[in-house]
Amino acid sequence: MIAYVIRRLFTGVVLLLVVSLATFVIFFVVPRLAGASPDTLASRYVGKAPTPQAVQAVKERLGLDDPLIVQYGRFVKGIVAGNEYKAGNDVVLCNTPCFGYSFRNSVEVWPQLMDRLPVTASLAAGAALLWLLAGVSIGVVSALRRGSFFDRLGMTTALAGVSLPVFFTGLVSLALFSYYWEIFPAGGSYTPITENPGLWAYSLVLPWCTLAFLYAAMYARLTRAGMLDTMNEDYIRTARAKGLREGAVVTRHGLRAALTPIVTIFGLDLGLMLGGAVLTESTFGLPGMGKLAVDAIRGSDLPIVLGVTMFTAFFVVIANIIVDLLYAVIDPRVRLG
């Protein structure tokens, strides 16, 4: 088990390096291959109407004239040990972990990310709880009553949930619940949990439900398929033959086995979402990571875009590792591997 953990952690670190390399290539190598010179590259970091001096300074600070390998080394070093961006005697400090520096707004990227993370985390955690509970229970009941009215209703709703984009369901729910009935606040109203937990939850109800609707639909279908499979297994018959109550047969024996793939998908979904639920955050005006990325793209603030990209990728990799370790806990047969 310990060897498995160590091996998995090691591959995780390697993956993170690969992710950083891929991001670096996309942001610094691909533009060059497309014909950008260090000057044009630097001009992308200083806003829409750059002065030659500003461009020159950024080029110097980022070391865009250095060989690519040196640039990449500095890029990685920044993440683990921080960076200094020098232009003549003027030094800009970027603390560990350095995810870049926004020259347009003269701020480090990392604190920006950390600033937005609680919003995205709040959104993701609440929605995840909702969609897990709703999706799994609807899936279980649908599977147990296959072909019933509940099953057909549930699966039709699930199909709608999977097919409708968040910016549609989100806008419809906003129109109904905050503008027409005025039950929930309109977009753009977020209160941190540290300030007022009640208001925090109140302001997030609509985004939670909107996001959960999409994912609950996927999870309901997944759970239903898994339960239909496992409830036909021989060990379910054994559990019944022991005289176990049907409720325990379904949860302890059936659902337990059907949950394995769900845990896998859940980890990945959650990891991806921590990097920003772009559509939901934009629709509801929540100041999360997704909104940060969208705003940065609009304002062509490349370091922020790069930072969010890296951050999301890291989350997915880390979520992957956690899922794999969890997998070994859930399915004892994995431990050997």
Binding site: D234, Y235, R237, A241, L244, A257, P332
Partner: protein, 356 residues
């Protein structure tokens, strides 16, 4: 016709509690499907006493497993139409509520399944699964149940049971898994044990061990055992009585030595002919039963065995039109065949027996 069936001596006279420990009367288990009604079990009757072993023999699809699952009440009531009576120690099970039958399951009657790997939950340790089975019917702490589980594992011959109790099913060998399965089935001292092809998935060298184990434990617990198999060699070793099933019906029923010595049904002859014998010359060929088992949706008219029976033509068309009844050919020995009793004796003695 009902008159004759009720006097055929199989205890179908009247209703009410039976003196036998297990008394199955005219059991029918039908499954309505889109393709038609599947008559998996169609009018089956047998009795079994404590301490005795009944072997149910037949090809795949003859209704053996459906019968055993029916006794345990494991068919979904919505899917299966069950009629008839199952009396277990004075209690009728077909009409009993699902909850009543559930309480008996695992405690009064238990089952050992064919494939111990797929029949045990892969995510729980052997111990957890035995403890669970024990605690359903016994209000004891986990520690007590664990000790009981270790005792049971030791009793079925698993070395170092106090260590192996924490192993997962995939960490056991096939034979060990089946032993663990037996330990689980016997954990609540069931009075009726149904073993559904318990040795089919096992190595030949392990098969005899498992059978011996079941017999030993049967003596200790004085339980009634139903052994379901397609292997006559298996029942020959252990069964007191044998029930031969074909197309959901009982075609021959009697004491084991009688069935082997004086079988009175052509299907039983076929089964005996297809059984390899070590005491015969290896150059002799086995005598397989021609054809395939019948579809249970479209059971052949008359005697279900007639399309495969070499003697069906001797009955003047009755084999194709009339369902033969299970009649007593000798005291305690029943067979369902249109051939005259003396004719069957002659065919067996002159044509079949010498070739076996």
């Amino acid at each position: 016709m009902t008159e004759r069936a009720s006097t055929s001596g199989l205890g179908m006279t009247g209703t009410g509690a039976s003196s036998s420990f297990l008394d199955v009367r005219d059991l029918r288990i039908h499954f309505p499907t889109d393709d038609g009604l599947v008559k998996s079990v169609d009018g089956l009757s047998f009795r079994l006493e404590r301490g005795k072993t009944l072997g149910i023999v037949g090809e795949s699809g003859s209704g053996k497993s459906v019968t055993s699952l029916g006794i345990l009440g494991l068919h979904k009531r919505g899917n299966a139409k069950i009629s008839g009576e199952i009396w277990l120690d004075g209690q009728e099970l077909v009409a009993a509520s699902a909850e009543e039958v559930r309480r008996l399951r695992g405690k009064k009657m238990a089952m050992i399944f064919q494939d111990p790997l797929s029949s045990m939950h892969p995510y729980y340790t052997i111990g957890t699964q035995i403890i669970e089975a024990y605690r359903i019917h016994n209000d004891v702490s986990k520690a007590v149940a664990r000790k009981h589980a270790i005792d049971m594992l030791g009793r079925v011959g698993i070395p170092q049971p106090d260590k192996r109790v924490d192993d997962y099913p995939h960490e056991f060998s096939g034979g060990m898994r089946q032993r663990a399965m037996i330990a689980m089935a016997l954990s609540c001292d069931p009075e009726l044990l149904i073993a559904d092809e318990p040795t089919t998935a096992l190595d030949v060298t392990v098969q005899a061990q498992i059978l011996d184990l079941i017999l030993d434990l049967q003596k200790d617990f004085n339980s009634a055992v139903i052994l379901i198999t397609h292997d006559l060699g298996v029942v020959a070793q252990v069964a007191d009585e044998i029930l031969v099933m074909y197309g959901g019906k009982s075609v021959e029923y009697g004491r084991a030595e009688v069935i082997f010595d004086r079988p009175r049904h052509p299907y039983t002859w076929g089964l005996l002919g297809s059984m390899p014998r070590l005491d015969r010359d290896v150059t002799e060929r086995l005598l397989p039963i021609v054809g395939t088992p019948p579809s249970l949706i479209n059971v052949p008219s008359g005697c279900a065995f007639h399309p495969r029976c070499a003697f069906a033509g001797r009955n003047g068309g009755r084999s194709e039109s009339e369902v033969p009844e299970l009649l007593e050919v000798d005291p305690g020995h029943f067979a369902a065949c249109h051939l005259g009793r003396d004719e069957r004796v002659e065919i067996w003695e002159s044509e079949i027996r010498p070739k076996l």
